[in-house]
């Protein structure tokens, strides 16, 4: 059985696409056949992060409209042959997405893939709602600041009431927290919410804390998912996330400053 994962947040710019790319790559690297779909129709980004923007011929909307087959639209990742990308259309908008169409594409993908990662657009409109509707698991990406936390809370409410699992009264969507752009120093100085403050409001299973890191931007610009950068804390943190999602028990790190182990190891590189 394929599992459909939605990466969502409500708020924009918190790291949904970075996370989608990283965990899709992580799952594929672990040997699971994985597809990652860009739901941000009109604001296509995932292809850039995955470094496949020059190989896009057909897109998600073409498949929904029956203008291309799913195999024509899927792009195989150049770093991992277990990973496929289904890009969004840049020339259309979210209205091109239909519940029936998305359902059909996911159903077809589910026959071949173990994991399907849905990269949700920001907001709570059609694109975001369709990205989460079919989900089995939700990765809620949150930055340690109040507006992001509240928006995540709102998304959790939508997951609990408007997802297919909720509508069908099935076992609820499994919700996981990913705290991104976390900076222990700024938490210490009170500029940023700490993990406890966030969990006070969201109380979710924590899948990982991704520290604020320059390597994320570098990786994005290079079109290589940051999880492949084994020298960066962010990359390691995403590896932990994937391992924990797959059931491994790994202690959380990068929560506070004092475990300078990695810092020493990597010469203070963030």
């Amino acid at each position: 059985m394929a599992r459909i994962i939605v990466v969502t947040s409500g708020k924009g710019g918190v790291g949904k696409t970075t996370t989608s790319a990283a965990i899709a790559m992580g799952l594929a690297k672990k040997g699971h056949k994985t597809a990652v779909i860009d739901f941000d129709v009109g604001l296509r980004n995932l292809d850039l992060i995955m470094g496949c923007e020059r190989r896009v011929v057909y897109d998600f909307i073409n498949v929904i409209n029956g203008e291309a087959s799913i195999n024509q639209a899927l792009i195989r990742d150049k770093n991992c042959n277990q990973l496929y990308i289904l890009p969004a259309s840049q020339t259309r908008d979210k209205d091109a997405l239909t519940l029936e169409g998305v359902g059909r594409v996911l159903e077809e993908l589910a026959k071949e893939f173990k994991y399907i990662v849905c990269d949700s657009p920001a907001g709570i409109e059609k694109g975001a709602n369709l990205a989460l509707y079919f989900a089995d698991d939700a990765f809620v990406v949150t930055n340690p600041e109040v507006s992001s936390v509240r928006d995540s809370d709102r998304m959790l409410g939508i997951l609990a009431s408007k997802s297919r699992r909720a509508e069908r009264n099935e076992e609820p969507v499994r919700e996981y927290l990913l705290l991104t752009r976390y900076d222990p120093n700024r938490v210490k100085s009170g500029e940023m919410l700490g993990l406890d403050d966030v969990q006070d409001i969201l109380s979710l299973q924590l899948l990982g804390i991704i520290p604020e890191s320059k390597s994320v931007l570098t990786a994005s610009n290079a079109g290589i998912p940051v999880i492949l950068d084994e020298k960066s804390e962010a990359g390691l943190a995403y590896q932990d996330v994937v391992a924990r999602y797959l059931g491994e028990d790994r202690p959380h790190r990068f929560i506070d400053d004092k475990k300078g182990f990695f810092r020493k190891l990597f010469g203070g590189r963030l």
Binding site: R150, D153, R154, L156, G157, A160, S161, D200, I201, S203
Partner: protein
């Protein structure tokens, strides 16, 4: 108002209304007796609403016309607003006159107690039994009583408003930002209520966790409704329309277990020790 449209709102309440128990079908006697009563206390009876009780008449199998009685009462300045104890035919007559019919389900067994209660209510409302002295002394055969019992629509409540059974809604999942919950009775929430969430109940609200959103109890006007929560960080709390925003909730009781209730239209928030 916070939670209803500005055009109108529905509230439920209990009224005390005099009940006019008729023991005779002699319209002239009824009219005369009522006139005498009214002349004794004109202010009290002026435009007084009345519920007409015709059970005695039906028990005694006396013939009468609901229309005639209603017209008589209206003529002398009373407002009949209900009929109880009427037969099917009498009820339909009343409905044609736009007079609501009480179709209670009291059994004959409770009739005696019911009679006492009825008397008490009538006394509470300051109304006596105006036609008592013209009581008709006819025999009440068992047969007649049985007929009356089946034809009688008894009353349980002392008011025209039917008492609704209390229903409690239980919520075990977190109430997230943007979610709304409405309970027609009491509401019990075991999980946290996030900022931006709204929980409403016609009855009491219990939150056995942190309350950060809005909580509105007694939304249909029940001023005796209360809110209980283990950790008060609410954006707004309201009982029967009287509210306080977090700005007006003193620091001393924030993040504390509290109960919130109305006293003389003032919202009281007390820490539960």
């Amino acid at each position: 108002m916070l939670n209803s449209s500005s055009v109108l709102e529905f509230k439920s309440t209990t009224f005390f209304t005099p009940i006019l128990i008729l023991n005779t079908n002699d319209i002239a006697a009824i009219e005369q007796t009522l006139q005498e009563k009214i002349s004794m206390a004109p202010d009290f009876f002026k435009h007084s609403p009345l519920v007409i009780d015709v059970r005695e008449l039906n028990k005694s199998e006396l013939d009468f016309s609901v229309t005639e009685i209603v017209e008589t009462l209206r003529r002398i300045g009373l407002f009949p607003i209900g009929l109880r104890g009427g037969t099917e035919q009498q009820n339909s007559q009343a409905q044609k006159l736009s007079i609501p019919v009480d179709a209670g389900r009291d059994h004959d067994a409770g009739a005696a107690a019911q009679h006492d209660r009825r008397a008490a209510v009538a006394t509470d409302a300051g109304a006596e039994n105006p036609a008592a002295e013209s009581m008709n002394g006819e025999d009440k055969s068992p047969k007649a009583a049985a007929t009356a019992a089946s034809a009688t629509a008894g009353l349980t409540a002392q008011s025209a408003v039917p008492v609704q059974p209390v229903r409690t809604m239980l919520v075990t999942q977190p109430v997230r930002s943007g979610q709304r919950i409405y309970a027609p009775g009491d509401l019990v929430v075991m999980s946290q209520v996030s900022a931006g969430a709204e929980i409403m109940a016609e009855g009491n609200i219990h939150v056995y966790n942190t309350l950060r959103g809005r909580a509105l109890a007694g939304v249909q006007g029940n001023t005796s409704a209360r809110i209980f929560c283990l950790d008060l960080q609410a954006e707004l709390v309201s009982i029967a329309g009287d509210y306080k925003t977090s700005e007006h909730i003193t620091k001393a009781i924030q993040k504390k277990p509290v109960q919130i209730y109305l006293q003389d239209h003032a919202l009281i928030i007390n820490e539960i020790a």
